[in-house]
Subunit: 271 residues, 3 copies
């Protein structure tokens, strides 16, 4: 078995109706013919940097060391916003510098991480547009990095990548108060409350989860724990507290979404 080529993941809001993802792949494979390309998601809601940042953070750790991650959700394309390369914990990210790496920078404690501003325009496609840097800037940069170019070649190190503010979890000994931070295509409402915090409260007795007008009296162990159409709270695949409706779309039916407050309260004293 020969060593497989470098692995590059792609995350965009480009959808699948147009050729935008396809031409990026053509550019990458022209510059790094043995790259292996893996789609993470291309139906991030248009210009929704926050959802893309969440997904990127919850994805990269499942890929092998040495993987490169191209993420392009880029409402500021053509403005002065920078492009950047981040090297962290054996992974390399190539993105616009618009907050897409917020969660990764907040939670990954690698002291040897490096960030670079993409400024070397000799790396770009020869005709660089103002409207499609995914193709003209980020695809050639990630391809050249995959083919072995040193990250220093893209431009100078930077110390201040853009981060947006993340809703903070509020904890007391009896309560957790967080926010819905992501809605998946099933309509599941994913919060910023980590599994471990919920489990600590739940261990000590009964809990009530409140989202809008809905009160949920316990944590379910599976989606089938509720009746058809029933609301449930569960630790989800993101390892977060999630509110779901069995065989239904919780976001639509409960009329909740990103930003909604969610609260966990200890309702009995416990054993």
């Amino acid at each position: 078995m020969t060593t497989p080529g470098p692995l590059i993941t792609l995350l965009t809001d480009f959808g699948s109706k147009d050729n935008y993802v396809g031409v990026m792949k053509g550019v990458i494979l022209s510059l790094c013919p043995n790259a292996r390309l893996v789609d993470v998601a291309h139906h991030v809601p248009p210009q929704d940097v926050a959802s893309a940042a969440f997904l990127l953070d919850r994805t990269y750790g499942y890929f092998p060391q040495g993987t490169l991650h191209l993420a392009v959700v880029d409402p500021g394309v053509g403005t002065k916003r920078r492009g950047m390369v981040l090297e962290i914990s054996g992974h390399t990210f190539v993105t616009p510098d618009n907050g897409l790496l917020t969660h990764i920078l907040a939670t990954n404690g690698d002291p040897n991480m490096n960030t670079y501003s993409i400024e070397n325009d000799s790396l770009f496609l020869s005709h660089c547009s103002n409207t499609f840097h995914g193709r003209d800037v980020f695809a050639p940069v990630v391809a050249r990095l995959a083919a072995g170019m040193a990250p220093e070649s893209v431009g100078p190190r930077i110390e201040n990548p853009v981060r947006f503010s993340i809703p903070q979890l509020k904890k007391t000994s009896h309560t957790l108060e967080g926010r819905i931070v992501y809605v998946d295509h099933f309509g599941n409402l994913v919060s910023n409350i980590p599994a471990k915090d919920v489990e600590v409260l739940a261990e000590e007795g009964e809990i009530t989860i409140t989202l809008g007008d809905t009160e949920i009296k316990s944590l379910s162990q599976s989606y089938e724990a509720a009746n058809n159409g029933g609301v449930l709270a569960i630790i989800d695949g993101f390892n977060r507290l999630e509110v779901s409706i069995r065989n239904g779309n919780a976001a639509k039916i409960l009329n909740q979404g990103i930003g909604s407050m969610i609260r966990v309260e200890k309702t009995t004293a416990g054993a």
Copy 2:
């Protein structure tokens, strides 16, 4: 040319908005770096095991011997439902044991087939969730099988995989009565009536096809045989009798869907 790596197909209801398919691919490529991944479909309607089972049966035979097929439509994730591995006719399937293999088990007569229950949790990701066995159980298992692990390693043989009941075709010398079993993204209504049965009736004279209030007086040889907006009956790419509307969505316009009765009747004595 070196031998290409093992081929793994993926069929889910995970959609393309989230990172669910992407993280499964990351897990697979971490454990079997030279795997080649091919998407079959990820927009199966949520929790629609029957449609996924139909697609899986109509897909695997087009792939080479030795292909592994990962199919995850899994409303029972986190419950006691088993996971399973099926080896049949040179193909290996890794799925929840919930009926996804119903059609394959019903029609593939391989006497040497083997089914195994996935029970060896040392094969799973180290933190196994209750909500995403596609990532935590099925992806690592299919990757390890692709990398050469013997199927016996997943767990004991089983003899009774779950099958759901399939609508049966009713035949007389003059009639065929079946059901719509799949609706594709064009809105074409695919029945369980095989091409050969229709052709036998049609050879002997004229036939009438009835679906709801719609009567179709002959079998078309192409979609263009009808006028724009016209209803037609045709042998489709699944090798089944199908009702379509030229350049239109038959399911919506005729208000028919999965489960609708479809009838073929010999209307003249023939030559």
Copy 3:
């Protein structure tokens, strides 16, 4: 590093709900195991040959020399319409002969191009349907070509591939009059007016762009140049004049689409 296998792109209107793209890939990989497959787009609106032809033309040049391009948007499947192979500028196209290559034939001046009619049915799958030539005809042909078969093997040369009429640009010294020829998934309205023609007019002074009732007084350099919800005209990633709405769907909000007239007028004498 071994030489990577042949690159094959896929462009269809098959969507991602069904197994249609997946089975084509199975057929290709059965006949050319080391092929590398890249999806261009599969959500071309059903039967929309014109949009697919536009995308194909705007895509292939980003792929390396030697790439094969499979494009199947095929309302005439099962009729007498031919299949064809086009070799042009180091790229090979395999498509129904229904106009999909119109733009490429119109703008690519390669004098050594060759077109062939696909007639050798020994190359097809053994059971060839009337409804799915993507799987039964085009996938095996592109796979065999990728594996080294000479294009002459598919059938005789032809001189008259089908082309549909393309809206022509009308130019005067003061005006450009074109049409919207494509709408992308963001709702951006892409015209047939090339960047260079707009830039010539704009260099000389101010311009006004008119689309329906909307007048736009200048060319923007980025999508962020407009306020949220503001209409703007921009040179897009297709290198064409495009009308967009910042963070909105221009096609829906302006109620314009393919075929809409768009006009650029010089409004001042310039310096």
